[in-house]
Symmetry: C2
Subunit: 310 residues, 2 copies
Amino acid sequence: MNIEEKLLEGHKRACARLISMLENNDKEAIDLIKKLYNRTGNTYVIGITGSPGSGKSTLTDRLTKELRKKNKKIGILAIDPTSPFTGGAILGDRIRMNDLALDKEVFIRSMGTRGSLGGISRATWSAVKVLDIYGCDYIFIETVGVGQSEIDIVKMADTVLMVTTPNTGDDIQAIKAGIMEIADVFAINKSDLDGADKTKMEIEMNLDLNEKKDYRAPVIKVSAIKNEGIDELVKKLEEHRNYLENNNRLEERRTRNNKLQLLKLVENELMEIIVERSVKEDLLDNLSKQITLGTIDPYSAKDKIIELIR
Amino acid sequence: MNIEEKLLEGHKRACARLISMLENNDKEAIDLIKKLYNRTGNTYVIGITGSPGSGKSTLTDRLTKELRKKNKKIGILAIDPTSPFTGGAILGDRIRMNDLALDKEVFIRSMGTRGSLGGISRATWSAVKVLDIYGCDYIFIETVGVGQSEIDIVKMADTVLMVTTPNTGDDIQAIKAGIMEIADVFAINKSDLDGADKTKMEIEMNLDLNEKKDYRAPVIKVSAIKNEGIDELVKKLEEHRNYLENNNRLEERRTRNNKLQLLKLVENELMEIIVERSVKEDLLDNLSKQITLGTIDPYSAKDKIIELIR
């Protein structure tokens, strides 16, 4: 069997291999996606974000188990913040050493954020398409909720779940504000801790400030470790999905997301072309040095490079 | 007097206005930078990064006051994380209500992170060039140390100072790892708190793992609020500068930084051209919708858009 047949028959390793090939811009893999693209559109993507230590991974595992009861096929893409210097994942190996990894109907992948030029976003988007073709009913994209690029990734989702915990510092809360606005469902994890009600109230007050007319993000208390509130959380996620589907919003949202990702794909390729050509002509290093020495200004240097592509 | 004369005579408002004009890609401002670019190269840029609550702003203020004793002219660029949705700065107005703002030789600006396409990085770089022409001896770029784009910004600096505090959570430490590797000097702020020595030891151990041959980042304990250790910190910053200058590393480092920023400038302009043209031809929305519907794959859509520019 070739990789196409294996993918369609549900072989995990074929799926993993195809994702790796796409990360490297492999032509054969791209051709396969082109060929099979008409099989996409059947998966539902849930973005899960929250600060380190909020228990996102455990919660994702619980949600996965809950959906497995309904015999759904699940994909999990865990985005790892990566050292920009060494290229290695700084949170270490996130392979989940639990029963989920053994489940034939659960595909788990840790995505390292290699490179700064939007590479992770492109890789995640490609992986979503592969998992869609592979037949996943749900895909979870799990990210640490910090930074613009992380927000860009979580925006890929049909539904964004924000995970928080009681008594998070005010500063961290402020950072999260950027994400609060894109969250469709809030889960307060570790809600057996003191302060869960206060946190809930704070989020509700924040939601009061944002006038969204026909949908208001629910805020629910859960405990991933104690497995409490998970069924209700699934219900809330389903309600948001129903809201989107019943109001023709799902297609609109996906088109908006695809637009962002399409632009990133374009950006990536253009920059690859630019770097390749200007390196070949030694232009990039030369101009950069001249900028340092003050013999050319950045704007004129930029124009010289753009001329290369036109 | 026109804006050029005012800038060269040290008018703060002319400086502020020029930075705003560059943020909006104003042609007149760009022409002015081109004209005055041969005046650059006399400033030294220090990037200050650290998590929210680490006391970066207070420390920056103290360093500024220390350098003012030596009659240095200072620029402070404070990067504000911005809500990607509303475009507003989420940490609120950071204008420093203290004596620094009244000092004629201190220029302070809060930079909002508007837009996700590298806009903040470009704006900060432009601002650095303006402040260089304006005659600043030192420029501080202050960022919250989270996310790839923040790292990209702090990498603009000649010297990177990382601010930490005792007893920060392990998770936060892990996130910082990406920044640890680019730090040239470490300051443990609030070092009168318990755990300062433990934090120092942890950082030193981390540094032991990274073999940098001829320079090792110093780790010093300070208290910004109590104004303790600031003179020593300035000395360590100067030592790093001397190291770069005496080993021909400064030009090398600046050229590397300029290369990154030049590429961002190119990227920005190319994407503006792409968006403008594809919006005009209604191609972008159309293709994004087709991707959603499964009637075109992302890679073929990307090729169609790239054809526009070639």
